[in-house]
């Protein structure tokens, strides 16, 4: 697979559709219609749950308790106000905390995974194959498996109620490494690295300024995944954090959930929390997905 790039790139061709087969015009039309039908179907399927979440965030606790409805009600701002009230914890603070952790996590994950993949792909060193196989192997270990030992470790190092145990492990993300490796094999010709050396670039600079930009679509993809994964993670933060001012949004949601069957219970507030918690990830996604789309043009330029 590594040799893929050794194929000679032909002279630049402006527009592929110029080569479109005339006979295929009708079948293309059918394909296009079928595609749209399929896309609309998928869209409805995806948006339905969002629609329900949004509707639910406009309904009061009583309305939510009394069953299902497809029509919005007028309690959006009331729920919003309740969600934004400072109790033990404060939602804007939680959003900020989640943002800090998710941003740090996703940046570390993609940067160090790309770096590791680059190190193993570009350099020929003893134990290189072993290192690659090792990461593949450990990728298969479920996170829950090491959770107990991890908590003991955190306690030993007195890292409870800090963000380090949430952020630092992101440096070693086997699955992201695996993806980067697969991608680099297809997208990074070794000649580029050698050319940079000839120009006198040091190895780190080559990686940072030449290699990383070529990996943009992959970086963006993995960054989204890492960001969302961290943003929605309840498991690890709940093990590490107990101070209100450090809590992330999923922990807050879980506390509101344990309030449900008490006097302080409010389903409307719960759905509002869920709704608000989705907004930042949607924004991050929209922002990063631009890079993925841009990746197309990048891809053709680099050829």
């Amino acid at each position: 697979m590594a040799k893929l790039k050794n194929l000679d790139a032909p002279a630049k061709v402006k527009n592929y559709s110029d080569f479109q087969n005339e006979k295929g015009a009708t079948s293309l039309l059918i394909a296009r219609i079928a595609s749209y039908v399929f896309l609309v179907f998928v869209t409805v399927m995806c948006l339905f749950s969002f629609y329900l979440l949004i509707i639910n965030s406009t309904r009061s606790n009583a309305e939510l308790q009394s069953g299902f409805s497809l029509l919005p009600r007028e309690h959006f701002f009331e729920n919003f106000g309740n969600a934004m009230k400072k109790t033990t914890f404060f939602l804007p603070q939680g959003l900020l905390n989640s943002l800090i952790i998710a941003a740090a996590t996703s940046i570390l994950t993609v940067y160090f995974s790309a770096m590791t993949a680059y190190g193993i792909f570009v350099y020929d060193f003893r134990g290189r194959k072993l290192a690659d196989k090792f990461i593949l192997l450990v990728m298969m270990i479920p996170t829950q498996v090491s959770a107990v030992g991890f908590v003991q470790l955190i306690n030993q190092f007195k890292l409870v109620n800090t963000y380090w145990p949430l952020i630092i492990p992101a440096i070693a993300a086997p699955a992201t490494y695996f993806y980067m490796k697969q991608y680099i094999e297809g997208a990074l010709p070794l000649e580029v690295v050698e050319a940079a050396r000839v120009d006198g670039s040091n190895e780190f600079r080559t990686f940072n300024t030449i290699c990383l930009p070529m990996l943009k679509p992959a970086l963006a993809v993995q960054m989204i995944f890492a960001f969302v994964g961290s943003w929605n993670n309840f498991f690890t933060p709940a093990l590490v954090i107990s101070k209100a001012e450090l809590m992330t949004v999923p922990i807050m949601i879980s506390i509101i959930n344990s309030d449900l069957h008490s006097q302080a219970g409010d389903l409307g507030k719960l759905y509002m929390y869920i709704f608000i918690s989705i907004v930042p990830v949607v924004i991050v996604y929209m922002f990063l997905s631009k890079f993925i789309i841009k990746g197309v043009t990048l891809g053709s330029v680099k050829g």
Binding site: N61, A62, Q65, S66, T87, N155, A238, I255, S258, Q263
Partner: protein
Amino acid sequence: MKKRILAAVLATASILGTVAGCDSTNTSSTAPTESKDNNSSTTEESKPEDGGETKEEGKVLNIYAWNEEFKGFFEKYYQGLEWEVELEDGTKEKKKFDKAPGLETLKGVTVNWIINPSDGGVYQQKLDAALQAQSGAAADDKVDFFLAEADYILKYTNSDFTMDVSTIGVTTADTQYNYTVQAASDADGKVKGVSFQCCPSALIYRRSIAKDVLGTDDPAEVQKKLGTWADFDAVAAQAKEKGYYMTASYVETFRTFSNNVSSAWVVNGELNIDKAIEDWTTQAATYLDKEYTLPDGVWGDQKNAQMFAEGKTMCFFGPAWYYNFCMGNAMDKEKGCYGDWAVTTGPQEHFWGGTWILAATGTDNPTIVADIMKAFTVNEDVCSALIENEAQFTNNSKVNEKYATDPKFGNAFLGGQNDVALFVELAKGIKFEHKTNYDQLLSEKYPEYMLDYFQKKITKDEALANFYKFVNDTYADVKTP
């Protein structure tokens, strides 16, 4: 739902406003004279901050809890913070409880709530970790008190992490209900904390359906016809004939049985299924088979839907907090049946829920902790406020009885019935016996695993086997057949 409750609470409060105003002149029943610590703290207030020559109290009060319910009561009635109520017409009004004891005792003290979700056992894990680190923790980081529920309270009372509250000057008042004291006591009878509420659970029935089935909706008459399980079963059959369900969840009666067991869930390290639990199993199997009830959980949607006016269910079981805060569907303006309800004893006395305040060994604020415990049990102003503003049934029989005998006191949701009067009687008959550390999960999971058998998916033995597997996987030290 919230608005309706508020309206109801405020309505009763306004009726009572004058009564309470008169009564609250005798405020002397608070703490100050009971112990040395308290005396020093009362003298301390006249001095500047650093005057404590005998025992310096910590400046940070650390409280562990799993939700915000008690925090709300604490802030309003102990700390004396201002809060807002929404009136029937939608306007808001600021309120403040001027007699809050904390206005004095909490001067210069920071109250620090450490709230963790109960989901996945996170609360207990965090609390346990904090308690285990207590001896080495800095004074301001020490747990001062924490909250616990009846289902796992033994775990803490029987440990050294909680302390005998008599050592900090809290003695058990005879106005406290016996079962709440039993629950907070360790195996040797040392009391480790107090409950700020009492949760006797009643039979809650639909008046209109009772009239149709039994020919009466009067609580005393209904009680005569539903006073034993045999009667209850017979009425279930009558109800079915008329097209009604007796209960809306097959687990509905479980607590009534499990509160009245004669042996514990675990005896000598072995899982034990008590006769009462067996009886429930038989009853639930019959009820589902004959469609006297629905195959839904206690918190299920299907059950909740039965609370609407169009619902066909006659009986629910629950304490005051249940119908005041969890029967939103019955209170719904369009589809509900507000006022069509009443409460009575039912076949057996039992309780459901309740939250206990336990003193953590090593607290650096013993005086404040003691004062808080007293505030929520013997302070009549606080207890009255809890009844009037929060629809609580308090752990102070004197205050409760005051409302029980008040002819003007009534709950509009229950068609004007004075429910406090019933609970005062019920609370006397509740037992807290044959409890173990394992009760919470065992009582929750047993009915769930038996459902497969009730629904005839598998045999009873297979269902039991699945339950045993759960027990084995969760509790390594419990043996199963």
